[in-house]
């Protein structure tokens, strides 16, 4: 067995691959956060809760409505996205004139409501969601056996992330969105329904979180707390990438997942905190974030 620094290469590659899977989730979630923040200036603390809701939508959809995984991939984000639009219209809208901290606090409260309710109804221990038949195999990569499903996660996340980036940075719709961030009243004067755009953006960002949730259901146990700790890491990822930058969010997410995997091999105790340490370093050396524009 060949080794680097005394650690077998197979182990390193294995952890890096798993890190890439985690990174895919980070990328998807930070993308949603970055989109919402970029357009609305709202830090969506409830992002983790919507991720959890996406997973539960898939689980409950299967248990009660017989909805299979592939349908859930579309249906859950749609349903949660609609919920997001409702939240924006009924709750968030009232806070726009005020200090942005209130938006943060409101979404924080929402997260409490969602997670508390889920915990009460479903208990704290998770329920398992079966891997869809078509993805149930295992890839023999020689350095490890990678379940086919996890390879799918990486593929799906990368495709969704870069499609979203493309839409925002390279299409007309994206240009409209970006114009709204720069000067909403002017855009409205041009006849664009800005409030609708804002509501749709929040719904879209939240739908991305729900999509990540559906992707995650066969991998982790679906439980009420799956979003909580994850979202704090994702916040750190977004700070590292630069708050308003879409590309920054995606790239940082993937890279940091891999870095975490690497840390698990070299110094496992630090794997939980490596992202936060990197965030601290970035703040000292480059406060706007790696891709930030401020």
């Amino acid at each position: 067995m060949s080794t680097i620094l005394g650690i077998p290469v197979a182990v390193i590659l294995g952890q890096l691959t798993l890190g890439l899977v985690n990174g895919s989730f980070y990328a998807l979630l930070s993308l949603g956060l970055a989109v919402i923040f970029g357009l609305m200036g709202v830090v969506n603390f409830a992002h983790g809760a919507f991720y959890t809701l996406g997973a539960f939508a898939a689980l409950l959809g299967l248990q009660y409505l017989g909805i299979n995984y592939w349908v859930a991939l579309l249906a859950a984000p749609l349903a949660v996205g609609l919920l997001g639009v409702l939240v924006e219209r009924l709750l968030l809208r009232h806070l726009y004139g005020l200090d942005p901290l209130y938006g943060l606090l409101l979404t924080f409260g929402l997260a409490l409501i969602v997670e508390g309710s889920l915990h009460q109804v479903f208990g704290a221990s998770g329920q398992s969601y079966p891997v869809p038949e078509s993805l149930a195999g295992v890839l023999n990569l020689h350095f490890m056996f990678l379940p086919l499903y996890r390879a799918w996660v990486i593929l799906a996340s990368v495709v969704v992330c870069f499609s979203t980036w493309f839409v925002i940075e390279r299409t007309r719709l994206g240009a409209t969105l970006r114009a709204a961030t720069e000067n909403a009243p002017l855009l409205q004067a041009f006849g664009v329904n800005v409030p609708l755009l804002v509501a749709a953006t929040y719904g879209g960002g939240v739908a991305l979180a729900a999509l990540a949730g559906v992707l995650a259901s066969p991998v982790v146990l679906v439980n009420s707390h799956m979003g909580t700790e994850l979202v704090i890491v994702v916040f750190a990822v977004v700070v590292i990438g630069g708050m308003g930058s879409i590309l920054g969010a995606i790239v940082s997410g993937l890279v940091l997942g891999v870095v975490e995997g690497f840390t698990k091999v070299l110094y496992p105790e630090a794997s939980n905190i490596v992202v936060f340490v990197i965030m601290a370093l970035v703040l000292i050396l480059r406060p706007a974030g790696l891709f930030g524009r401020e």
Binding site: F108, G109, L110, I113, G116, H119, Q120, E229, V233, F235
Partner: protein
């Protein structure tokens, strides 16, 4: 003025007699510790307009330091608590130093992430006992003279410390330092143009808040006899924000009322509605943010001012 003094005296009498009226001293002490924590937090949020999302780090880490000093090194309660405070202040300097580089939302997110970092350090560090926490922490003897084992004796000690902290915060807010802090809160650009080094003021406020939060945490660990991961968890940071917001940021009694309400709700609501407590607290939080931003005490103050026609508008909206 006389009315205020009479009320103060009544309140003091009430506080002193509570254990004898059949109230559970341990519950009261927990309440006082969290009230201290909320007051310390309010110094930062209400008077400095800095929303920290990771304040449990100071509360909890000081609790661990104190518990560890008492159990592993046989330190006396006073020494252990003071050390806990000092460590919290140091931690505050480090975290504050990093967070103050950014403002508003970024500040909040940085404190969130760094608070989580402290949580994970506490999870892994050998001295904290990981998931088990530090248990069986004895209260010891204060200055070698006063044994603290009795819940009633400990209650009076905690009450005394609480009153001291409360008066100290009042003093700080009314001091020149406090005035500058509030000036920075109202209009940062103006304060800079007047020549104040705002970062120094903000950092000092942060460290002060962290130290007093640490004091609350250290005392809490002695009251309950343990320090666990719950003390440094994100949910505890959220709780103190709720207490301060609910009670009224920028007021003195607000955090106390908020803490009393939240702790009482958690204790007794959970008997009635079980695990729905978290969701209900979330609903209260959302309601507060949407339409009750001044908090209970803030709204009462505004009401009182309007009734006495002493001002066209209520007090300036805090934060």
């Amino acid at each position: 003025m006389r009315a205020a003094i009479v009320l103060y005296v009544l309140l003091a009498l009430l506080a002193v007699s509570l254990p004898w009226l059949g109230l559970y001293p341990v519950f009261l002490m927990k309440l006082l510790c969290f009230a201290m924590f909320a007051c310390a937090y309010n110094l930062l949020l209400g008077f400095g307009r800095m929303l920290s999302f990771g304040h449990a780090a100071f509360f909890g880490f000081a609790a661990y330091v104190t518990s560890w000093l008492v159990t592993a090194h046989g330190a006396g309660p006073a020494t252990a608590v003071l050390c806990g405070m000092a460590v919290a202040a140091l931690l505050g300097a480090v975290i504050g130093g990093l967070a103050i580089r950014r403002r508003g939302i970024y500040f909040a997110m940085i404190t969130l992430a760094l608070g989580q970092l402290v949580y994970f350090v506490c999870l892994e560090a050998p001295f904290t006992g990981g998931e088990n926490g530090l248990q069986g922490v004895p209260r010891g003897t204060l200055f070698g003279l006063l044994p603290l084992r009795s819940d009633r004796v400990m209650y009076y000690l905690v009450l005394a410390v609480f009153v001291a902290v409360f008066l100290f915060i009042r003093r700080v807010v009314h001091s020149p330092f406090g005035h500058v802090l509030r000036a920075i809160r109202e209009n940062e650009a103006r304060a800079i143009s007047l020549g104040y080094d705002i970062n120094r003021y903000k950092l000092l406020a942060f460290v002060l808040s962290a130290a007093l939060s640490g004091l609350a945490g250290s005392l809490n660990s002695l009251v309950l006899g343990f320090a666990t991961l719950s003390d440094v968890q994100q949910s505890t940071s959220g709780e103190v924000i709720l207490m301060t917001l609910l009670g009224g940021t920028g007021t003195f009694f607000g955090p106390v009322v908020g803490a009393a309400l939240v702790i009482t709700l958690q204790e007794y609501l959970s008997d009635v509605v079980g695990g729905w407590v978290t969701a209900i607290i979330g609903v209260i939080f959302v309601a507060c943010v949407l339409s009750f931003r001044r908090g209970i005490v803030g709204e009462l103050e505004a009401l009182r001012l309007r009734r006495t026609h002493r001002g066209a508008a209520g007090p300036a909206e805090p934060a």
